[in-house]
């Protein structure tokens, strides 16, 4: 019954959006009817998604999707999140979001009606092709042909709070770019990119980018404490796939913030707007078609792969085609100096595009080679670290002073202060390196990040008079964002380069000393949880003969899927993480690996500052 409601509301929603696409020469609609049909379509697809959630909550195993992915022993919260933890449910959520973004746009936008209609038509077209994809290849409302009493159990790795909200937040980012895409195409078709369009596109781009940043951060944070080998970024194909639209989105946001009417930049913004959503769809394709192997895996199916490939080709091709045909030749009216704000923006865009293209090439190169030579190669972390990071370095350097640059001249106010501070900072960092192990990456990371922060602070102090108002915060917002990046880079540099690793074999009752701390294996506990069995090794952390905390690495055994997962035990404080993973056991002696990760918290704090900055950018004065 629930499935029937879900399925029929989905079908109706699709039909409605199809109606919206009928050209006005054949069926002319007054705007209020148009909006009514659009909004009804959104309401219907939401009903559809909610009925899927309801099916999960009630453990309705007559629904094949619920049967495959859920179990009545799952805690309620994970039953709900299980609705989007699988391919069909997540793509239903995706189209739901496409529709909702259009809905919100229809409510908020102050554009003229004709323009609004075009935007919503394109948004409906996007909704339609993905909805057809759901209906024909990924229907979450299929009925179970067998009468069953129990489900097949949710993947244990997905039973985790961060991972439960990671997909929705990520999708809010990817799908937000669908609206930006629609705005761009609409502006090409109408031939105008006036000031209001820029403002509107800026707002929606910032929102999408903000969500995407949050989604990626959640995924990284989850990887760090769940995957159990102390990393938070692996250049895994699926991570790269999210990084590409993120970087392109960042280029877009910068260009939107820094445009002052230059026609060349307007044209570039439209191209980026098309590119961002194209990269989102490409990402969806690469993950769900099953042609890449990674830590994420959805069940793959050739027909699904081909359908999304078609969607990707058609949507991106359409976007680029309209761009090719409809964008009039604009004059190159850029006022470039070495180095003024416009040049900085241009260099920023160039570097980001090169980064995106490199990540793209690295990610799909194995596919190309295998088609051509029938051999398989891997392009992993080392490749991207060797190529993308050096490319971004000049960008980070530029970031330190870019907001303080002038538009007209290549001079910076109070230039001498910057130079003096930079020299002082460099000397301090050199001194620091002298007394610790010198590492070129560590040195660069440290200098760049601290310089970004200090230069930003200098700029804030020199140029803006403090007042506890939103206006003040908004005016220093770009500096805040960059300070966030600096903080994050400090965290990245320290936690990777200055990470310390120790391996021990330890039995219950024994202790090991690390720096000036003592870790003692107090006991091993085996606990029966609701749907898994958990083995925990309880360690006490002692400093100066006082126990300051307990750390519990462990392993979980899930009887339904027969999987064993390793859970890391982590002790956080602001200045370091102590990260313990449990290895194998031999005669009651456990192998453990202990990582000391300095300043990991700075990574999350830095990202938080960036997200905060994106929120400030969207808020009205």
């Amino acid at each position: 019954m629930i499935s029937l409601i879900g399925f029929s509301s989905l079908c109706l929603s699709t039909i409605f959006s199809f109606v919206l696409l009928i050209p006005s020469s054949i069926l002319h609609m007054k705007i209020k009817y148009f909006l009514f049909i659009y909004r009804s379509s959104t309401l219907l697809v939401c009903i559809s998604f909610l009925s899927l959630i309801l099916a999960y909550v009630t453990s309705d195993f007559s629904n094949f999707n619920v049967f495959q992915n859920s179990h009545s022993d799952k805690p309620l919260i994970y039953k709900i999140t299980g609705a989007w933890g699988n391919h069909e449910g997540s793509i239903l959520f995706w189209i739901c979001m496409i529709s909702i973004y259009g809905f919100l746009y229809s409510l908020i936008s102050k554009s003229i009606n004709d323009f609004k209609i075009i935007v919503l038509k394109i948004q409906s077209a996007l909704f339609l092709i993905f909805a057809l994809f759901v209906l024909f290849t990924s229907n979450p409302f299929l009925v179970n042909s067998v009468l069953v009493k129990e489900g097949l159990g949710l993947n244990p790795i997905l039973q985790d709070p961060a991972l439960a909200i990671h997909p929705p937040v990520l999708f809010l980012g990817y799908v937000g770019f669908s609206l930006v895409f629609s705005l761009a195409i609409a502006s090409l078709l109408r031939g105008n990119q006036d000031h209001d369009w820029i403002k509107e596109t800026r707002k929606w781009s910032m929102i999408s980018w903000g969500f995407l940043t949050t989604g990626i951060a959640l995924g990284s944070y989850w990887a760090y404490y769940e995957l159990g080998w102390g990393g938070w970024w692996f250049w895994d194909p699926v991570e790269n796939i999210s990084l590409m639209p993120w970087i392109a989105g960042l280029a877009l946001v910068h260009s939107l913030l820094m445009i002052r009417g230059e026609q060349a930049i307007e044209k570039w913004i439209i191209f980026l707007a098309i590119l961002c959503f194209s990269l989102s769809i490409l990402g969806t394709f690469l993950v769900r078609s099953g042609i890449l192997t990674s830590v994420h895996s959805f069940t793959s199916d050739a027909s699904r792969g081909l359908f999304i490939l078609l969607i990707f080709f058609v949507t991106t091709g359409f976007g680029f085609l309209v761009f090719l045909i409809k964008s009039p030749s604009k004059k190159n009216d850029l006022h470039l100096l070495l180095i003024n704000k416009t040049s900085a923006l241009l260099i920023n865009n160039i570097l980001m595009m090169i980064a995106v293209l490199t990540i793209l090439l690295g990610t799909i190169y194995p596919i190309i080679i295998e088609v051509l030579t029938n051999t398989r190669i891997s392009v992993g972390g080392p490749y991207f670290n060797s190529t993308v990071l050096p490319i971004l370095l000049p960008g980070f350097l530029l970031m330190s002073i870019a907001p303080a640059l002038s538009w007209q001249t290549n001079k910076v106010k109070k230039f001498k202060i910057y130079v003096i501070c930079f020299l002082v900072l460099s000397s301090l960092v050199v001194l620091h390196s002298y007394f610790t192990n010198f590492n070129s990456w560590g040195f660069i990371g440290l200098i760049l990040s601290t310089w970004i922060i200090i230069a930003s602070i200098i700029s804030i102090v020199l140029r803006y008079k403090f007042s506890p108002t939103m206006q003040y915060i908004k005016s220093i917002n770009s500096f805040i964002a960059h300070i966030g990046v600096g903080v994050m880079i400090i965290g990245i540099t320290f936690s990777s380069i200055y990470q310390k690793e120790y391996n021990f074999n330890i039995a219950v009752g024994e202790e090991v000393a690390i720096d000036n701390q003592v870790l003692k294996l107090e006991k091993i506990q085996i606990i029966e949880e609701k749907n898994y069995q958990s083995l925990k090794a309880n360690f006490s952390l002692e400093k100066k003969n006082r126990i300051i905390s307990y750390i519990e690495p462990g392993k979980n055994y899930y009887p339904v899927s027969k999987m064993i997962t390793t859970e890391a035990g982590i002790y956080h404080d602001w200045f370091k993480d102590i990260y313990i993973t449990l290895g194998n056991e031999n005669n009651n002696i456990w192998f453990i690996r202990v990582y000391i990760n300095p300043l990991v918290s700075f990574i999350w704090v830095g990202v938080f500052i960036m997200i905060f900055s994106s929120v400030i950018a969207v808020i009205k004065k």
Binding site: S289, G317, F320, I367, E370, R376
Partner: protein, 174 residues
């Protein structure tokens, strides 16, 4: 000049999509990489028989005939699933030398396994430490190779064989 530059994204898009399409159509399996040893010579090895330590088999002796090599173990569940197929192959191609390797397994466990499931192999070698498997690039059991009479590896499959794979790929090789 400008318009020509704008064509580049479209060209790139089409090329990339073409590669994706071909990859899907060729039915490449991301979990099953093509073997590095295809068309290379049989690795050199020497192994005692599972049943008799005085009996030995060296790789050279396989020259001049087609050989099927199968790495298995008693603890490997998919191995049991494909095991019966070797009897069928033996019946269809009696001149094929079917060589089995007990890989990283206790010899007694392997003997018991073959007692239970039957022994289709012309010779069963022992690779307890996995060194022979290493030379063959074995990483996940079961793995099956076919060597032609010139001593070249012409087929490799990781994972259990199925009737389809045998019909579609192996029968054509002889």
């Amino acid at each position: 000049m400008r318009k020509i530059v704008l064509i580049i994204p479209l060209i790139l898009l089409t090329t990339v999509c073409l590669f994706f399409l071909l990859f899907i159509l060729f039915e490449k399996d991301p979990n099953n990489p093509p073997s590095a040893l295809l068309n290379k010579n049989l690795p050199v090895f020497s192994s005692a028989s599972l049943y008799n330590d005085k009996e030995n088999l060296v790789s050279d002796s396989l020259k001049g005939k087609y050989t099927l090599i199968n790495f298995f173990a008693s603890w490997c569940t998919p191995c049991r699933a494909e095991h019966h197929l070797f009897f069928e192959i033996k019946k269809e191609k009696p001149e094929l030398f079917i060589l089995g390797f007990s890989y990283k397994d206790d010899p007694n466990d392997s003997k018991k396994y073959l007692e239970e499931e039957g022994n289709p192999y012309s010779f069963v070698g022992i690779d307890q430490d996995g060194k022979i498997g290493f030379e063959f690039g074995v990483f996940g059991l079961p793995e099956t190779f076919i060597i032609n009479s010139d001593g070249q590896i012409i087929f490799k499959h990781t994972g259990p064989l199925t009737k389809e794979i045998i019909d579609n790929e192996i029968t054509n090789l002889f």
